[in-house]
Structures are given as C-alpha cells and as structure tokens.
Amino acid sequence: MYGLCDCNNFFASCERLFRPDLEGKPVIVLSNNDGCVIARSNEAKALGIGMGQPLYQVQRLVEQRHVTLFSANFALYGDISRRVMATLRALVPNTEVYSIDEAFFDLHGIGEPLDDYGRQIGRTIRRNTGIPVSIGIAPTKTLAKIASKLAKQYPKLDGCCYMHRRQDIEKVLATFPLRDIWGIGRRYGKLFDGMGIRTALQFVQLPQEWVHARMGVAGLRTWNELQGVECIAFEQMPARKQQITVSRSFPKEIESLAELDRIVAEFAAACAEKLRRQGSACREIICFIYTNRHREDQPQRYESGLATLAEPSASTIEIVKLARTVLQQIYRSGFGYKKAGVTLSEILPASQMQGSLFDPVDRQKQQRLMETMDRVNRTYGKGKIVLAAQGTHPFRMNREHLSPRYTTEWDELPVVKAE
C-alpha cells in the first residue's frame, strides 16, 4: 500500500500557525509580486475566491469580508515543509517528497488497520508542526492521491481515507471527476469533455489500445494505476530536475532593454546557482519576455528564444552571457514588458561533462571560481558576489503583505506576551 500526505491549504496554514487571531477567518496568500491568489483558507474558499485569481478581481471581496492577505513567504513555507517531511519520515519506512506540501510514503510491511495508522500519522504531524494534513492510503500512488482528496473533502473520515477494496474503489471512481485525476489534468481534460467522458470510471472502461494510442505510455500508466495495478514506482531520491526556470512578473511594465538585460542576467545567475546545487550542467538556455495580457489596450508580444552552449556548462558566466545574447535577439522596443524568465534545459549530471579537445574555456578554473562564489554567497548572504551584468540593485518584488520569517531569522521570531 502507498500513502499520500497532503498539507491542507499549506501556505495559508503556515501563516495562520503564527497568527492565532486568524483562526477561523478567511486568509489568502498571493503569488510573487502579489499578483494572484495561490492559497486560500477554507473560509476564503467559502467566499468564492478562486485559485489563481488575480488580486484585483477579488479586491472588493477582500475589503468587504475582511480577508487577510499575505505575500508569499517562501522562507517560512520551506522551513515548515521540512518539518512536516521530517516528522513523516520518522513515522513510516520510506518517503518520497513530491512537492513542497505533498509526500508519498510506502506502507509495505506495516500491519492493519492502516486507516488507524494513517490517522495517527496525521495527528502527529498536526500536533508537532501545527499543519493540518490529509492522508490517503491505497494500492497505487494515483489512487492514494484520490484518497487524500476524499479525506480532505469528508470531515467524518477524520483526516485519513483508506481505499483498498475493489468495490469501494469502483464506487469512488464512478463519481470522481476525471479532470482531477493525477496525470489527466488540463492536457487531456478538453479531449475527454468533448467525448462526454467525465468520471474516472468511464475512463477506466475505455479499451486499453485506445488509451495507449491516444495518450501514450503515460496515459496507460494512469489507466492501470486506477485499476490498482502499480505502475508508478516509488522514488526515494529526488530526481534531478529536467528543467530549471526562474521567472517573475514585474510590478510595472518595463520598456528599456538595459533594464531587462540586468533582470535577465539576475534570473540566469539564479538558474545557474540552482543548477550547480543539484550537481548538474545544462546545454540549452531559453529566455522569454511577455507583455501584460491583462492590458488589452496595449500591443502584445510574447517572445522566446533558445541558444545552445558549445559544451554543457554550469558556469554563471557562460549561462548569463548566453541568456543576454538571446534577449538581444528577441527584444523589440516600443512594448511594455510585464514578465521575463530564463529556463535551462538539456540538463545532465556535471560528472558526465565530456571535455572537448578544442574547448577554449579552462573548465577547471571556471569550476573553482563558481565553487568559491557559491561558498561566499552561502556564508555571507545571498548576492554578495554577483556578475557586473546583474547590477548592484537586485530585482525587488512587490511584497506588501509579507509576514516575518518566524522560524529562520533570529530577529523575526514570534513574540509571546507575558502580561
């Protein structure tokens, strides 16, 4: 059996942990730059605030119903996530962290009753970290995901849904929306809507050959997993990311190439640092710039360009240089750009980098330089050593509603009254 531990309204729950005055009140967390809603407490969901909605669309509701806003505080969420995962790890034989607020776990060899076991896990995480979680337990990872959603939906399950009998699973699939199944999503949602296939059970009843032909091996895997056939293996080690992206929307539209150039250099440098942290190198660099799609009165442009490195590299110097070259190629004056980003792809382990006889770059020297730079920045704080192209004033996000870093900064600890 597999389990999925999913934190309820994770970012909102993190904020509320240190704000007892907000218990039972509507809370929303906004994306970088305070643009869109990325987390909602149950009370905020009940007001009809949608996931991903731009802030300006819900502004009136926020004022009328006294919804508390938070800017995304990833220093806090990252630390609380580590605590949740560490607590889970101590309770089960193996875990696979799937995202900041979700982890699969392996229950092979653990005796029944597994639903009691799951509830115990949920209660312990809630008590030790303060974060409410929903636990789903089922024969496959895809079914465990469904079970965790049911645990969240039905309070009488007391935080854990154990779904293992064939007839129970079929009953659930008969009503479960196909769109919400792991691996279906938006990509195939439209296709099935058009065919009138809405529930997971209808999907399972499709012929295997059809699923294979239309959706490939991945679709077949989902089809099998829904029937209790284990196809998606348990991965204990986080896989190396296949792509690394750093992108942001700007508080105001930017027209000038010089300004975009500096920002792209900063994003490329951040990508390169992430790349080195996972011990990888990359071969391709993509740079993109978008205008504001919410401003229909203005001319729109969505541009992206790709460049290939002669040799795979993890050097900030090379990656920034190439990203800036791409920007020069895709930039046109006369547009107000609202978003920019850099993506690294064709990622491979740094150990597999093959030297070329005619390589003009001294790789070992570059590597030593990068190691030194990373070490200085780790010890003395982010951004202490940067390339000149990044400038001296790093890109600031709009974060008007940022909460303290309660668990990672001595100066920002929670204060308790003794009065």
Binding site: P20, D21, E23, R82, R83, V84, A86, T87, R89, A90, P93, N94, T124, R127, N128, T129, G130, Y406, T407, L413, P414, V415, V416, K417, A418, E419
Partner: protein, 146 residues
C-alpha cells in the same frame, strides 16, 4: 532508517546535525603517545541538549514580566516543543482570544488556569467561552547577559 534486501542491510546516515569528531592519535611520531587518546569523546552539542525534536521545536521571544518568578523575563528566548504532551503544571505557550501568551498551566476538568509567577499579575481562567488552545510546551529558557 534502514532498507533491507536479501543479502545486505543498508543504513542511511543521519546528516541533520554537525559535530566535530576528534581524530584519535594525530600524527604518528616517535614520541610518547598522548595519555588522553583512550578517552576521546565527542564535544558537547547544545543543539542536541536543548532541541530533542528539531521538527517540532520553535524559538519564541518573551515580551513582559508576568513570569519572572519562573526565571522568564522580558526579551528572553524560549525553546518550545510542540511534540511534548501538555501536563498539569507545565509552562506553555497558549493562544488566548487570538493572542500568544506564556503561563504555567493548571489543568482542571472544566477549564484551565493560566498562572503568572509574578505577584503583580493576576491568574487568568480560560473556559469554554474563551478561544483557547495550547500551542506548545516550553522546555527551556535562554537568557543572555550583555
């Protein structure tokens, strides 16, 4: 944490805390060996002593004088462990009507007394009509002298 297969047992190292491990003997020279070599022990680690369970331990700062009788003063640092079960007589961080407060608890069947340890302050009684929760149990207080 371990994983077993047929022939071997694998143990995963715990790399969550840093410790210096003294290397026995040092350089081998033709001299008299250190008589302390047989008694090498690990240096003391305050993290291990004060933070039993890192995932459930939080640090908070005190504001106010109501707990001075327990040695908890304004500006002190408290080490709070949420995994410790609250018991009668423990010092805890509580949420009372939307505010964090630190007090000694007296647990009764129909309510909780929040007891200050400074005679200038009065005990507070939390009943069902209050919004009251215990947030975590205080395990240590750290004072710093200027």
């Amino acid at each position: 944490m371990k994983k077993e297969n047929d022939n071997f047992t694998f143990y995963r190292p715990d790399t969550t805390t840093q410790r210096e491990i003294p290397v026995a003997g040092g350089a081998v020279r033709a001299g008299f060996p250190s008589p302390a070599d047989d008694f090498l022990e690990l240096p003391l680690d305050l993290n291990r002593e004060l933070v039993r369970n890192p995932a459930s331990t939080f640090f908070v700062r005190v504001a106010g004088e109501s707990m001075t009788g327990d040695g908890i003063g304004d500006g002190d640092l408290l080490v709070v462990d949420r995994s410790t079960e609250p018991h009668d007589g423990c010092i805890a961080i509580c949420c009372l009507d939307g505010e964090f407060t630190v007090k000694r608890l007296k647990l009764e069947p129909d309510g909780v007394w929040l007891l200050p340890s400074n005679p200038a302050y009065k005990p507070i009684r939390a009943t069902k009509s209050n919004d009251f929760r215990i947030w975590g149990v205080v395990r240590h207080v750290i004072k710093s002298f200027k």
